[in-house]
Amino acid sequence: MLKTQGLGYWYQDKDQPLFQDINLEFEVGQSYAILGHSGTGKTTFLSLIAGLDKPKAGDILLDDRSLKKIGLTNYRRHDVSIVFQAYNLFTYMSPLNNLLTAMAITGAEHAGDKDFALKTLNDLGIGADLATRNVQHLSGGQQQRVAIARTMACDAQLVVADEPTGNLDEDNTKGVIEQFQRIAHDRQKCVIIVTHEPDVASQCDHQYRLENKQFTELV
């Protein structure tokens, strides 16, 4: 589904890249974890496959189409859904409106369907009473579940998450990882999670470690 071809990135000096010549493939129905120490470039890699930045070298292909041709805004709108460590929800809205807004912007199949949004939230443990409150009144775990529900409500085949459990306790972490696994296996999406926690990574179908500017698959 998603391929990287000779992918490389550097900030200032081309001779000191964060990573270079990366060739990876990601498939639907699978979950992937990208491990690495701080500063190795795993989040930068995620920003490239999420369409938030352009690679300095190489290309990213979605179903054999270059992101350059698709256009990053179009790609973000229709093909990828992002979950952030800080949840990044619309703080002036309720969980329900957060989902409805995302569905409207991305032109999801169920755009405007309030019942669908409520059911999606309910599946993740956000009942009708919580769904209509302001998101700022929800706990961190609940907010992260709303962020995950937002990705589920949209039609994007690729879900990328940047340290999604970084702010959560053990129980919430477990629940969130289970949800990602369901998204991958039940909804047949491709889930890529960037994490520095081996326990989280170990629950994914595939694990890659970014070290010395290269990715290594852990078996």
């Binding site: 999420a50 938030l52 973000r76 709108r77 952030f84 990044n88 619309f90 809205m93």
Partner: protein
């Protein structure tokens, strides 16, 4: 239209900030509206001044030409020179009345007679029985009566009455219907001194010619104000001894050769802006070596100058407040956008178009501005009224000070000479009433639908500019820098 829904959710959720923005916008728009109201009121007042204060063109004998003629003859003759003024022929005046923009006209012919059946009012400082020429006129050997006769077409068109210096207290004034009658309007003091009232008859004796006795019927009594009295000058009789008659009767007193003539004819011009063109057209119809046409639009000019000042200041208010308002709102929106960088980042990460993000902010401000326009609509009238009246009083004072120091176009006064009235009826006196009218000019500051539409336009323009200035940051914002850092 999802951006519109987001805008509404944001405005509603952040009530405190929205109220603050409404207050700031209201204050800005209130001053913009005040400026707009003052400007439109000033334009309205100038238009009203055209209709109300009016302007006049006066046809009279050409004193300058007569004076020149007298000087020339004095060089050739050893005898004492005498200035001869040609009375205005009514047939010449009739030609001018046919010009466009002439709304009405008043024929004036003055002389004096001697009291027969009554006693004139005498004052200690006055010179009763003196000449009737006044300051603007020349002493006439044929006009030495103790009672001043002011012949007019209509008293309502006479300067003293139109400027409210004199007013009818009993009966009625002289009208065009009194032509060729012996009807007279006398002063209140003269009436009470002689126990005269409306319907009574008095007898006068002609001061010139055959010196016949003539019976006059009193149809009205008027009260002359003290201002009117003082304007008569030291050489005139007591103002109470002035009677108003039809100009035909005044001409009869003066003698048969004065039939069909007048001392002067004052034409009221309906549109004061057309005074010059009326004068030019009028000059073509008369013999300018004998007659002169003088204009008086000082009243209009005073109001116009005063309102021009107000209008110009109002324009400055509108633009200064609009520019300052745009800058203030732009700064507020810039700060607002800076604190919403994450929200913008999330929207960009969802693939939202940048223009729709800008449109969301514009829609938010639009909602604020709609409420602000309503508030400003209420408050702007009050601010406009206060500011407007202050401006008018200041600018009127300034205009009057300027005109009095430079000399109001007072003209040369009504022509004197053979029984003609001077001073009191001249344009110099009219300018006094003009100023008083101008001083009374008030701005009618009221909010109309047009004003609100204009304000809405300004509000929209200010909002649009503010958002455009502030949205430069949104267009440059990179989601990665906002969301992943």
């Amino acid at each position: 239209m999802n951006f519109f829904k987001r805008a509404w959710l944001n405005v509603w959720a952040k009530k405190g900030r929205s109220v603050l923005l409404i207050l700031v916008s209201s204050a800005i728009l209130m001053f913009v509206l005040a400026g707009l109201l003052i400007r439109s009121a000033a334009v309205k007042a100038t238009d009203q001044a055209k209709a109300n204060v009016g302007a006049t063109v006066t046809l009279s004998a050409n004193r300058q030409a007569a004076f020149k003629k007298m000087q020339n003859s004095s060089r050739s003759k050893s005898s004492r020179p005498k200035m001869t003024l040609t009375p205005v022929k009514l047939s010449d005046a009739t030609k001018i009345t046919k010009l466009s923009n002439i709304s009405s006209y008043n024929v004036t012919s003055s002389t004096s007679v001697n009291a027969k059946s009554y006693d004139t009012v005498s004052t200690s400082s006055g010179l009763s029985g003196g000449n009737s020429g006044g300051p603007g006129g020349m002493k006439s050997s044929t006009s030495t009566g103790d009672t001043q006769i002011d012949g007019v077409t209509s008293t309502s068109l006479a300067t003293d009455f139109s400027s409210k210096q004199s007013k009818i207290t009993k009966g009625r004034g002289i009208t065009a219907a009194d032509k060729n009658t012996n009807h007279v309007v006398i002063e209140k003091d003269l009436a009470s001194q002689n126990n005269l009232t409306v319907g009574d008859t008095i007898t006068v004796k002609e001061a010139t010619g055959s010196k016949d006795k003539v019976k006059l019927k009193i149809v009205g009594i008027y009260k002359a104000s003290s201002t009117s009295s003082s304007s008569a000058g030291p050489m005139s009789t007591d103002p109470a001894n002035t009677m108003y008659t039809s100009y035909t009767l005044a001409n009869t007193f003066k003698g048969t050769k004065y039939a069909g003539t007048a001392d002067s004819v004052t034409f009221n011009v309906s549109n004061p802006a057309k005074v010059s063109s009326v004068k030019t057209a009028g000059k073509k119809l008369i013999n300018t070596s004998k007659y002169a046409l003088s204009t008086d639009d000082s009243s209009y000019q005073t109001v116009k100058a005063s309102m021009s000042n107000v209008e110009s200041f109002a324009n400055k208010i509108v633009w200064l407040v609009a520019i300052a308002g745009t800058i203030i709102l732009a700064l507020i929106v810039i700060l607002m956008i800076r604190e919403r960088r994450f929200e913008i980042g999330v929207l960009l990460s969802l693939g939202e178009a940048r223009w729709k993000i800008v449109a969301q902010f514009f829609a938010e401000m639009l909602m604020v501005i709609v409420v602000a326009v309503a508030i400003a609509g209420v408050g702007g009238k009050f601010v406009g009224s206060q500011l407007g009246s202050q401006l008018v009083s200041q600018s009127t004072t300034t205009t009057q000070t300027t005109t009095s120091s430079t000399g109001q176009p007072g003209g040369s006064g009504a022509p004197g000479g053979s029984g003609m009235k001077g001073g009191n009826g001249g344009p110099g006196n009219m300018s006094q009433s003009a100023n008083s009218k101008a001083a009374k000019t008030e701005l009618d500051v009221s909010v109309s639908a047009v004003n609100l539409a204009e304000l809405g336009g300004f509000g929209l323009a200010i909002t649009f500019l503010s958002i455009m200035i502030a949205s430069g940051g949104i267009l440059r914002l990179e989601p990665k820098k906002v969301l992943i850092s």
